[in-house]
Amino acid sequence: MSSAQFEIQLIASLVAIACAIPGTFLVLRKMAMISDAISHSILPGIVVGFFITQDLNSPLLILLAAITGVITVVLVEYIQKTGLVKEDTAIGLVFPVLFSVGVIMIAKNANDVHLDVDAVLLGELAFAPFDRLLISEVDVGPKSLWVIGIILMITITLLIAFFKELKLSTFDKGLAASLGFSPAIIHYGLMSVSSITTVGAFDAVGAILVVALMIAPSASAYLLTKNLKKMLFLSIVFGVFSAISGYWFANWLDASIAGSITTLLGLLFLAIYLFAPNKGIIAVLYREKQQRTEVSLLTFLLHLKNHDEVSERHVNHLNEHINWQKVRAKTVLDLAIKNNMIVIDNNIVSLTSKGNTFTSQAIDYIITNEDAQIEDMKDDFFLFRG
């Protein structure tokens, strides 16, 4: 691996981390769309900054563009506050306008500006190592590495300092306000960090990848954990993993690095969406099926409890009487036997004492919804997990 290859992966990984942190809070605040808006509407800020500084990595340009990002948020909220349109409509109104202003500014000055819309949207990670930062003639590494590195340091410092405030105001804005932690300050702080990260990263990876890196890893992590710190950690891991594997994927396909990383992020999310243990589609479908079986089981046990007559408890009779198909009846019988709830003697089914207690408790629970006594049954039966 050459040093340029290493540097590209390092830059991509740092961008991934810098995006995952604000991204986690955007996802939890259900504001994913806002990052899309910011990523587009920073364009006029970048263009104006570029006119002034002639350098895509200049701090002034980053600041100007980040301010455009925050202005976007303010405009969206202002339009939304009029009560005439919903938030997504407001977003859809604001960012295309700002983005077009940027496009027109570039087109008008095409001759003397080395800046094009493609570069802003898609970036060019492969070229990032060639733009070096020289300090008194000494090469200290790629410029974008420094830019994103500094932004990341700031983000991490803010995260550590204000973790408690971010968590509180994300979970319960009202309480935050009543305790004196102004939700507005925290909100605009988060918006500023998101804007600065987007601007700092676009030169290396492009605005589209920034959006993907902010949202996909956090959305995936959200499906896997119930702990905010773990969610942050997982989004960082997912981001870095996609960044590095995306790089090698692009290398192998000889394709765009940003495109490959974005594709991998999509695949990663899809895989987690399908296979996540609790919230994943497959787990949910499995749970629903289990619950259906358990309801059948309960119906069946209740039937046994209510009917002492031998004729009512014959295996064949059950098929007809409860009106189940063979497969369903067999699944239910097997489940009941496995749990020692029934015994079958000469094709006559009877409840065991365990089955008897279970039925009473379960019915009791369904009627009263008091779940203290069935706490230990939750592990075995989905039915009781709410």
Binding site: L28, K81, T82, G83, A161, F162, K164, E165, K167, L168, T170, F171, D172, K173, G174, L175, A177, S178, L179, G180, F181, Y222, T225, K226, N227, L228, K230, M231, N369, E370, D371, G386
Partner: protein, 245 residues
């Protein structure tokens, strides 16, 4: 009860998008009362509490807590929001939510330590939720979530408690457990203000009541003003509740 005024609201008008939902409210809440705020859905009960707590900015009027502005008296006030106002799928545990009650006294940046943890566990114990402390909050029942919110207010150790529908969606056992805690708070001299929907239980639970429907209809001791006349004025329909003396 003495004659001190815990909360004073003067000429308060609050609007969303320039449409007033509270008109010219004057209200005095004496120290040490257990007060119900009653009124139909959309009457502005939550809005009133939020305005007192500085969460919303009124377009006119003022609020004082023991004679000073809310900003100066934050530490004296605890708040239980309406349960539906937060996302219960948020990745956090019961313990952590209750711990949020300590953030106010900590201030910016500082983290909760042993002392805060201890207060949190005590509050969980008091509402009977200690066994559930590590549960993710989405896996709590509605009544348990309500208890968690109550514990979070208790941990604030305030002088005045504002609670927005703490009985919403709880069963009889939880309701009794909650009201006993509220009565205990009153016994030690705290002021408790509760948005309440079940008119039948007002005389049994509360000693003070405020009728609200965009305007303040009446406020005072339950035994003096909790009558059909005020109920009808507030709810707009001919209301009859029997009050046992």
């Amino acid at each position: 009860m003495n004659n001190k005024i815990a909360v004073q609201v003067d000429d308060l008008t609050v609007a969303y998008n320039y449409k007033p939902v509270l008109w010219d409210i004057d209200l005095e809440i004496p120290e040490g009362v257990l007060m119900a705020i009653v009124g139909p859905n959309g009457a502005g009960k939550s809005t009133l509490i939020k305005s007192i707590l500085g969460i919303l900015n009124p377009i006119a009027g003022s609020v004082s807590i023991y004679g000073k502005s809310y900003k100066k008296q934050r530490s004296l006030v605890a708040y239980v929001p309406q349960k539906g106002s937060v996302d219960w799928d948020f990745p956090t545990t019961a313990l952590d939510v209750v711990m949020m009650g300590t953030y106010g006294s900590l201030g910016w940046i500082k983290r909760p330590r042993q002392k805060e943890k201890k207060a949190t566990l005590e509050a969980l114990e008091k509402v009977g939720m200690l066994p559930f402390k590590n549960r993710q909050i989405s896996q709590l029942s509605g009544g348990q979530q309500q208890r968690i919110f109550l514990a979070r207010a208790l941990v604030q150790d305030a002088a005045i408690y504002f609670m927005d529908e703490p009985f919403q969606g709880v069963d009889a056992t939880t309701e009794i457990a909650i009201i006993n805690i509220l009565k205990e708070l009153r016994k030690v001299g705290k002021t408790v203000v509760v948005v309440h929907h079940d008119l039948q239980t007002v005389p049994e639970y509360f000693d003070w009541v405020t009728f609200l429907n965009v305007k303040k209809i009446a406020t005072g001791p339950v035994k003096d003003i909790f009558n059909d006349d005020n109920l009808t004025k507030t709810y707009g329909i001919n209301y009859k509740v029997s009050i046992q003396e």
